[in-house]
Subunit: 594 residues, 2 copies
């Protein structure tokens, strides 16, 4: 059995060689995902499974902002860049001086945007390219900052917060462009991915998630779905009337890029509203993995994971690009741990569906995904009628659906180690009751249409999360570590055979990549929903993570909500978090003793 992380070979002429070289340098961490393939794997091995137990805190930094701290620090040369939740401060810290502040960018944003952010005031961080730090603010201002001075090079408005358009995602620098998404699925926002010129901020293209082919940048003949041409206006036909205009499919998750295939990958979110009776049809192309040509945005292939969503299983989780041997054949894979509880293994060149399996045995809303290419329902989940909120109808509370709306896994990114060939996945182990109700649309107002309550998966270990190792070659969970709360932090695997993740109580944990055995834990100041990163500075390997409870799971603490159904249903299930942690906003940097 062999496994190899994606390594760029012959790349197109326009490639951003400098940036790709920096991504290949394990000492730096220049985009949020670490690399284009979204593996979150580091070749560094000074900290390894033999010595990780000796880890110490090297230095710390308070960001001066409370609420959920997602994403993580970037490291570019001797500089570290840290981004905060709203108001989205960016700090440039000097690693030669234990984090002395070289510059600080503090945008003036209208705080009204906070009210139209569904799931806390999070921001998944900035990205570096071409001596520039690119940030996409909550109010959808895209900003380019001189990496040395913090000076604003250009700003561009990507959306309209008064219509519920906001942003929480990072941006992806590809070639000479910056790709950016949009949030607002709970406000009837119609999602899109937009490319801006890195140097000038000029818009290159915009691809909507729903609507007419021209606006979706879809070619009825060339764009494929499971190997077949997509056909004309495939989205329009899957909605009643003009509902696609309020159709959601927002693009608030992670973006990947394969420089060899020259394809960008990302997923689209839930169709709006959460009341499925208001939107008959498959609601294309919400809940879809999309592969596009970055040069013009044209769609190469789509795959809709959850047609006609009835549970808010946004399809935006990271698509991890790995080359692995499946049934004796090396394949160019895209692996996606979807919110709906299935992990999809696809051929990333063609969009072929290779496998789809539950990665949490608690998943009950569907029995399986039809993998038979000859079948009428090829590629579709086989929905269990008892858990269909559409069949139950409006104003009926459907109980015991697993996973809950925040999925078997939300945006917290998994990691892949080419050394073990395993995926390390932060998961939720949460179920829900879901009662849809009719809503009408008003721009800038919540457009949700369901009342939810969440609780730990029943008949299990009693906790709300697991940290698992998944083998995509066999489609099996190798090991699973029960956690009291959802694991809402991104994982990091390293060549030291160690995997790191954070917990909502605030622990940074290090486990053995082969066995899952816990090797180290440290209680950081606040709950961790940030993503663990690593870098090397002056010969020393560091591990860095942001603390600051929040995100959807921590919304009760972050926004001071106590009614169990508030926070889109998350407050009740995570109420016990207040016995472990309080709001924060800190970076903790770890290293081995000298």
């Amino acid at each position: 059995m062999s496994a190899a992380i994606f390594v760029g070979g012959a790349v197109p002429a326009l490639a951003n060689d400098e940036l790709m070289g920096m991504m290949d340098d394990p000492k730096q961490w220049v985009i949020q995902t670490g690399d284009y393939a979204n593996t979150r794997f580091s070749e560094l091995e000074q900290i390894n499974k033999e010595n990780v137990g000796d880890l110490q805190v090297a230095w710390t930094f308070s960001t001066g902002v409370l609420r959920g701290h997602e994403g993580g620090p970037l490291v570019v040369g001797n500089m570290m860049y840290v981004t905060t939740p709203f108001p989205n401060v960016v700090y440039a810290l000097d690693l030669n001086q234990e984090g002395r502040i070289v510059w600080k960018y503090e945008p003036q944003q209208d705080p009204n945007v906070i009210a139209v952010m569904c799931c806390d005031t999070v921001n998944r961080g900035a990205a570096y390219a071409n001596n520039t730090i690119f940030l996409h603010q909550a109010d959808t201002t895209v900003v380019a900052l001189d990496a040395m001075t913090g000076e604003v090079k250009w700003t561009k408005q990507n959306g309209d917060p008064s219509a519920g358009q906001t942003n929480t995602a990072t941006v992806l620098p590809v070639k000479d462009m910056i790709l950016v998404g949009v949030s607002g699925g709970e406000y009837g926002v119609r999602g899109h991915l937009t490319a801006y010129d890195m140097a000038t901020g000029e818009q290159r293209w915009r691809a909507y998630s729903t609507g007419p082919d021209e606006e979706m940048l879809v070619d009825p003949q060339q764009t494929t779905v499971l190997g077949e041409p997509i056909g004309e206006n495939s989205s329009l036909e899957s909605w009643e009337g003009d509902q696609w205009q309020l159709g959601g499919g927002t693009t608030w998750g992670w973006y990947s890029y394969d420089p060899e295939l020259d394809l960008v990958y990302y997923g689209t979110g839930n169709p709006s509203t959460w009341n499925p009776s208001q939107r008959p049809g498959d609601n294309k192309w919400s809940m879809t993995i999309m592969a596009r040509d970055p040069d013009d945005g044209m769609a190469k292939w789509f795959y809709q994971k959850t047609p006609h969503d009835e549970w808010d299983y946004d399809g935006v989780n990271e698509n991890i690009l790995v080359d692995q041997e499946i049934d004796g054949e090396m394949r160019q894979l895209l692996v996606n741990f979807d919110r709906n509880g299935f992990v999809y293994t696809m051929d990333r060149a063609t969009g072929e569906l290779i496998d789809a399996k539950k990665y949490d045995p608690a998943v009950n809303w569907a029995t399986e995904v039809d993998l038979n290419p000859e079948s009428e329902t090829y590629g579709r989940p086989q929905v269990v009628a008892d858990y269909s909120t559409r069949e139950a109808g409006e104003d009926t509370n459907v109980e015991g659906i697993c996973p809950a709306a925040l999925g078997s896994k939300d945006q917290q990114p998994a990691s892949f180690s080419p050394e073990t060939g395993l995926f390390y996945v932060p998961t939720n182990h949460v179920c829900m009751d879901y009662e849809p109700f009719r809503v009408s649309y008003t721009a800038g107002q919540p457009y949700v249409g369901a009342t939810l309550s969440m609780y730990p998966a029943p008949d299990s270990h009693g906790g709300m999360g697991n940290f698992i190792a998944w083998d995509a070659r066999t489609g099996e969970i190798k090991w699973s570590l029960p956690e009291q709360f959802s694991v809402w932090s991104g994982a990091l695997a390293t060549a030291g055979d160690v995997v790191f993740y954070g917990t909502l109580e605030g622990y940074l944990k290090a486990v053995d990549a082969e066995t899952g055995e816990e090797l180290y834990r440290f209680k950081t100041p606040s709950g961790i929903i940030g993503n663990v990163t690593t870098y090397e500075h002056e010969g020393k390997q560091y591990i860095a993570v942001l603390s600051g409870i929040g995100g959807w799971a921590g919304i009760g603490l972050a926004a001071g909500l106590t009614n169990p159904n508030e926070g889109l249903g998350a407050v009740g299930g995570y109420a016990a978090l207040s016995e472990y942690t309080a709001l924060g906003g800190q970076l903790t940097v770890f290293a081995l003793p000298d």
Copy 2:
């Protein structure tokens, strides 16, 4: 030469034996000052000068509140108590579970109080006694909380925030009472010390700092000043008209207690306003060390350090009670490092002035304190006319006064080691320009009357602080460590021959108690204005400190002020702090590796 820390001998019948026993137990830290004598010394020696370099962060805790974190954690048995700035949250943390939150008390206070707090929203922490945690909130609510459950036992309103009466100080439990002060010298508040019954909250007595003898609890014959009876209505005669009613002399600093002498010691703040021309006279008894009988509050002796203040040198700093040999004789001393730059050594039984020396050579507003008992000006500072803001008169800017208004040392408490016989003093090395102007009084409005600007002491090391070792037996600085910013953190000396303090940049530092050599430093998340404490849990010694930039020195960052003259003149001098640290609110706990 010998030195001994005060140890209680025969104590009066009403003594709180349990509490005094807990203060004597170095494993616990039950009141903010560590002990009644305010030595901030610990007998613990597991961490010592040989191994302190190996110190590691054991665990951390974010308080969920930003701005200045003064005071420090209490440790009572297995429980730790942490208090935050406004809104004055109290956390009870379980030390057996790395700070799991056992209970949280979060008062609902009118946020309007923030506007009438002169020097940030700080609170110098809670105190423990009789299974109760006592807290004095910003809005002057005194509250008694069940130490196990956090349940409110009683609350009492000590003042009126709408008239500018607020609180930042800790409380002192003495016998069956709680002693509490009041802030508001910049709002024309007339200071007082008040005793409440520990069990019921009933008021026992209140002693004003200014006014008629009955209200000041002064006996014209029995109360002495430098050995002489104080005489009738000594305060009233030292003010023009009714100005004493707006006279300041607030009591926002530290309180000490000598159980053997059965005397409580504390200092009073500046007279109001800062424009001396509006208040001719000595302005008694502002700027005064007071010794009182805790049972009825009656004054035993007073000593006014800065008669007719012209520089805002509040006299509230801690009075450290030590027994040391002076000129071959063991003396019961009270040592006070005053804001005005003189350290006063007094006989704490009689109020005799033994010595007064400058502890920062930069001090220039007075040449010396007259120590000749035969002199007309006995006990008075010899003011240098050039630096008299009264002589210059209203609307004249007096330049180059040292120290600045925040003193050679502000409230940040010093520590005394009976092992070295030295005092370890966090100091400011800052000078100022001071321009008084006429103001009129409106209740609840600032009543300041001077424009200040501050800067590092000229012709020196360029920094704004020093951490010094002072020998009261010889009246000399033993060593002095230059710091870029004022040292605004309280010191801790231990039997391990180590002294700890924090810096405004956020470093916790450990130095050799004899030589001052730096043995360890760690960059905590935010600037440190908290006081370092230590305790033992399950056989292990811990060092704990709060980070969170603020207080008067950090007011620019804390309140988001940028005009150099804002923040009562402190913003400009400390502007460079923003290159080192951002707002925070974290506890960092250190220990040696296992």
